[in-house]
């Protein structure tokens, strides 16, 4: 491990596909033994970043080190230090779980007995011992991802890259994978995890790096980021549409922030810092003003709101040059006003 104390260092990474800059001066530092969540919408550059760091993709510019080794010049050495679990469960579906792990063990240049022992251990650890002799195609989605995760841990890597490890899984499968990741962290593995889900980053990551249009735009602990964007939110749905403006004023005054209204849903939404006092305050104020509410909810901000706050634009990308350009302008505006 490098003397820096960082397991992953990326400086000014660039990667261009035609007119689109997938990475546009991307910087990242992940301290040893921590979990970093790389958070961003589709097309933000998360997967490109992971592919560069895991030696699958050569960057056009910039510099990156993983476990103290240069990903471009010492790719082979890096490959002994990393594990990668991508968006697919990259296992051989015809082979059994055991055969998969033994094969990958052999390809990591373990001897036969070692590869077999390691396969047994990992099957046990990921709760796949009973299904060890079943073909991977008969596994559930969650089981297949766990097998994939097991395959990326054969050499007990110092750094593990997880690219959207729970995309496409049902809540149960997602919990299974989360549990597996937590147990790894307990062993001191450094994890870089990409996700589109704020709650996933919140659940697993020590620090979050928010990425947009190929650049890191915010970095910090989940708590820091949340307080930066105004923490949790209160949503109020009023019964009568004509109450909407007065409700917005009222709720905004209680929360000490500007409330957003959605006329179609008859909903007022406001960021709050003190969760429960703000909620009781809103309930009382509405009651006193005799505004009837259909629903009042205290909730976490969505990724979309994080983005709107940090970048001034929403996560959806219609695509096309016009949208990209507007995105650039939006960011400049936000930076200027910040």
């Amino acid at each position: 491990m490098g003397s820096t104390g960082f397991a992953v260092v990326a400086e000014g990474l660039r990667k261009r596909y035609g007119d689109v800059a997938a990475l546009d001066g991307f910087d990242l530092r992940v301290a040893e033994g921590t979990v970093c969540g790389l958070l961003g919408p589709n097309g933000a550059g998360k997967t490109t970043a992971v592919r560069v760091l895991s030696t699958l993709l050569a960057p056009d510019g910039g510099h990156a080190e993983v476990d103290g080794f240069d990903v471009a010049r010492q790719a082979e050495r890096v490959r002994y230090s990393i594990g990668l679990a991508g968006q697919h469960a990259a296992v051989d579906e015809v082979l059994t779980g055991r055969q998969n792990l033994t094969m990958f063990g052999r390809l990591y240049h373990l001897g036969w007995p070692e590869a077999r022992t390691r396969a047994e251990e990992l099957l046990e650890r990921f709760g796949l011992a009973e299904a060890a002799d079943k073909q991977a195609k008969d596994y559930s989605g969650g089981m297949r991802r766990r097998l994939d995760l097991a395959a990326s841990l054969i050499l007990a890597p110092r750094v593990l890259f997880l690219d959207e490890p729970t995309t496409g899984l049902d809540p149960r499968g997602r919990n299974e994978v989360w549990e597996a990741v937590r147990s790894l962290v307990a062993d001191g593995t450094t994890v870089l995890l990409t996700t589109q889900y704020l709650d996933e980053a919140d659940q697993l990551a020590d620090r979050i790096c928010v990425i947009d249009t190929g650049r890191a735009i915010a970095e910090g602990t989940p708590e820091e980021l949340k307080s930066r964007i105004g923490g949790d939110r209160i949503d109020v749905v009023v019964r009568a549409a004509e109450d909407l403006p007065s409700a917005a004023t009222l709720v905004g005054r209680v929360a000490g922030a500007r409330a957003e209204t959605d006329p179609d849903a008859r909903r007022v939404s406001v960021p709050v810092r003190d969760r429960v006092p703000a909620l009781t305050g809103v309930v009382r104020a509405l009651h006193e003003a005799r505004i009837e509410a259909e629903d009042i909810a205290l909730r976490r901000p969505t990724l979309d709101e994080v983005f709107l706050e940090l970048t001034g634009h929403r996560t959806e990308r219609a695509g096309g040059a016009g949208t990209e350009k507007r995105t650039e302008e939006d960011r400049t505006e936000t930076e200027a006003s910040a």
């Binding site: 993709l57 990668l84 051989d92 579906e93 082979l95 055969q99 390809l107 990591y108 240049h109 007990a156």
Partner: protein
């Protein structure tokens, strides 16, 4: 949990070669395991050419006369047909390669291999070995089928082995076409397209009928088809009836059966290597 020690990275060229071969063997073994674990596609692949032999040999064969063939009717046609069927079996192998390459790419297995410290040549080396083994098995089945229906090699064993060598050379060349196409096309649509497109290529050759019976320009295309070269050359080597084509390609079938696969290799081997490297761009 046992402590896993990182294997030492080999420094000498010899040690590296040893690892590359070990990695390739692991990949080949994986395919062999597939045959055991999922025998249906493998067995169907072996038996499909046999079905074609029976279909053309007995259903259509009686109606097809062989221009240069001595024996008349079905029997003579089957003598003519079998070397064509051997060449066809080699061509069908392309599909197996294509399926394997596209499946690995689509499932992310190719990326997993690339993120591992294995020899990058091992993936294709292992793939080649497995596919060649499959084709040898396929060829053995069709040869056995041919012997059962009265086909035989009429020249020496040496020439027969040379014919087998030419067939495998064609297969080896097509393997690289399969690897290249598999790396280019994404998803299984490409496989379906290849399954369909292999037929016109097959029919536009001397595998089933003599090119002389086709309209002029079509016959010329059929004569220059690489499959025709291998089929004609093996007919010659096995001492089976061929056809007395007048074109240069027909008179030099043996040289063509060597030149064509080498030309295909010369094009598709570098293309595949380049394509594989481009995965990291």
């Amino acid at each position: 949990m046992t402590n896993i020690t990182t294997p030492t990275i080999p420094e000498t060229p010899l040690a590296r070669l040893r690892w590359a071969l070990a990695d390739a063997w692991t990949i080949t073994r994986r395919d062999l395991t597939h045959w055991v674990r999922q025998p249906a596609p493998f067995v169907i692949g072996l038996l499909f050419p046999v079905m074609t032999v029976l279909m053309f040999g007995y259903l259509f064969g009686g109606a097809i006369s062989v221009p240069g063939g001595g024996a008349s009717g079905g029997e003579g046609y089957r003598e003519f047909l079998m070397p064509g069927m051997f060449a066809m079996t080699m061509a069908f192998g392309l599909e197996a390669t294509l399926v394997a390459v596209t499946t690995d790419a689509a499932r992310g297995v190719t990326d997993r291999f690339r993120s591992m410290p294995m020899a990058s040549s091992a993936v294709v080396l292992g793939r080649s070995a497995a596919d060649m083994l499959r084709s040898v098995a396929g060829l053995a089945v069709v040869v056995a089928c041919g012997l059962l229906i009265g086909w035989q090699w009429r020249n020496g064993v040496g020439e027969a082995l040379l014919a087998v060598g030419l067939l495998l050379l064609l297969r080896f060349a097509l393997l690289w076409v399969g690897i290249y196409l598999g790396l280019i096309f994404e998803g299984t649509d490409a496989v379906v397209a290849a399954q369909i497109l292999v037929w016109p290529v097959l029919f536009l050759s001397n595998v089933f009928v003599a090119p002389e019976t086709m309209p002029g320009w079509l016959g010329t295309i059929a004569e220059w088809n690489p499959l025709s070269a291998t089929a004609a050359a093996t007919r010659e080597l096995f001492g089976n009836p061929g056809w007395d084509g007048e074109s240069w390609a027909a008179r030099n079938a043996l040289s063509m059966a060597v030149a064509w696969p080498l030309a295909i290799l010369a094009v598709f081997f570098p293309l595949s290597v380049r394509r594989y490297r481009r995965l990291s761009r």
